[in-house]
Amino acid sequence: MIPSLLDVRHCSVMDARGQALIHDVSLSVRESECIGIIGESGSGKTMTARALLGLLSEDLKLQAEAMILGGQDLLTLSPKARRQVISSTIGFVPQNTVAYLHPLIRIRNQITDGYLAQGLGTPKEALVKAEQLLASVGIQDPQRVLNNYPGELSGGMRQRVNIAMALMCDPQLILADEPTTALDPIVQKQVTELFFQLHQTRHVALLMISHNLNLLRKYCDRIVVMYAGQIVEAGPTAEVYDYPQHPYTQALISVIPQLDQDPNLPLAEIPGFVPEKDRDRTSCLFADRCRLCTPECRQPLTIQEETAHFVRCRNAEGV
């Protein structure tokens, strides 16, 4: 049994009015494992990532039974110690490449900042390391890029810089929040392949957030499906993709237009919208849009936990 690197149990995030933005999220990542989180916008994917990184804004409240990262429970640590553990263990790659890099600071200073702040080496060593990492993420002229400002680089290049920056402190886990969404399809493919190449050569664990199921399916060991701030299904990739149990996962797979889609037939669609206000967390949140919905679905839902293939649905049991 490979030990868990990250273990989040029953994590919820509430806003100022006490409404849960994410509810009862349990997640574990083992060493050198690749996990994909999928969900539509508003499903709480990014909020989960921010909660893990301790980047929640101050008016939000985090509640969790445990948040264990690298053997230490983050909830029991002081804010300073928590930051130290998080920043030395997790490398973060954001979705928005523009907002994450400071426009007025040269890449060389931004990329080495975290490394130096943690006291991992001298500025000279940091620059050498940055150069090596930039080369390893496929930047041909690292010297020049180090002296550039973010505005002088293309989106794909900036994302490569972000990836190199995430690797500077030799993290055990890379958390990537929709790292390719803002990129062109061809660059998208290159960057994704770079991620999994790093995953394989460096044996870092990867927690990849995306709304592209085909992408996650190709690379991830396990997939977590989120809907309206809850995990609705989680399990090994092959099981979740080939034998989805939750009606939402089934619908999500069927609505993706495939390249061999018959243009004369309508696409499958999920009627309605994600519930936004006044979510009743006790019963099933997908019930209004579900094709299998029965009157019992409006009743409070109890679910079994600690299963390899988790499904938050009354009708899925024994399917």
Binding site: S41, I186, Q188, N212, N214, L259, Q261, E269, F273
Partner: protein
């Protein structure tokens, strides 16, 4: 062959670049170099390419939001630059846009009702508020919206709902052509399917033509009769949807297909 509505002949667009030294000759960036395109009634032409390939420029030139540097746009056989004003007004009315970001294409201070009313007020010759109201009431259920959204403002609606408003706004004028510039890329897959189905069913009902611009090959394939592949302002390949998808002639096209949605495995699995 159905009636030809919109035609672009040898369209070229140059954007001026900033001069680095003031005595330099002005440099230009060629966004579009010699693209010709025909759009017939009830047809969908798909345009794919990376960002910066000139897809949006092409759409905007065909809808006359930008003037081409060279080349002409013909609307029902007439040059836009030489046609009479009344004719041009008819062109404006019959060629509508749906943009990528619906919220940015609406005035945030207007209510939805005013947003929907505005184009009819400007472009309908026999405009009457009562009739326009009625039209709005009939179009809302078709795009899957409740009438109570009329009193709200764009910021109060979700992205999917705003995109439906944008579609309703385009449809209220019963246009012959709708230029859809990445109109589903910002939406979630489940909403995307709803919008695509809606556009298809409207095409069957009203015979609308679409110029469908996207970087997503599978979406373009689903929507289009013919597909144009644009690279750096040039059409490198064009063809009938299924044929181009399954037997791309250019290496670029096949790499675009394979990187789109990472679907090559899915495709293999099905076959």
């Amino acid at each position: 062959m159905s009636e030809l509505i919109l035609e672009g002949q040898n369209l070229v667009k140059d954007y001026p670049l900033k001069k680095e030294v003031f005595w330099e000759k002005p440099k230009t960036l060629r966004a579009l170099s010699g693209v010709s395109l025909k759009l017939a009634q009830g047809q969908t032409v798909g345009i794919v390419g990376e960002s910066g390939s000139g897809k949006s420029t092409l759409g905007e030139i065909l809808g006359d939001l930008q003037r081409p540097s060279k080349g002409t746009v013909l609307y029902q056989g007439q040059n836009l630059r030489t046609m009479k004003q009344a004719e041009y007004r008819r062109f404006r009315r019959n060629v509508q846009f749906i943009f990528q970001n619906p919220k940015e294409s609406m005035n945030p201070y207007f209510t939805i009702e005013k947003i929907l009313m505005e184009p009819m007020k400007r472009l309908d010759d026999d405009f009457s508020p009562a009739q326009a109201q009625q039209k709005i009431q009939t179009i809302l259920p078709q795009v899957g919206l409740e009438p109570d959204c009329l009193s709200r403002r764009p910021a109060e609606l979700s992205g999917g709902q705003c995109q439906r408003i944008a579609i309703a706004r385009a449809l209220l004028l019963n246009p012959q052509v709708i230029v859809c510039d990445e109109c589903v890329s910002a939406l979630d897959v489940s909403i995307q399917a709803q919008i695509l189905n809606l556009l298809k069913s409207l095409q069957r009902r009203y015979g609308t033509s679409y110029l469908f611009i996207s970087h997503d090959m599978s979406v373009v394939h689903y929507m289009s009769d013919t597909i144009f592949v644009l690279v750096k302002g040039q059409v490198i390949e064009q063809g009938v949807g299924a044929e181009l998808m399954h037997h791309p002639k250019q290496a670029y096209t096949s790499s675009l297909i394979s990187s789109s949605l990472f679907a090559e495995d899915a495709l293999c699995a099905v076959q």
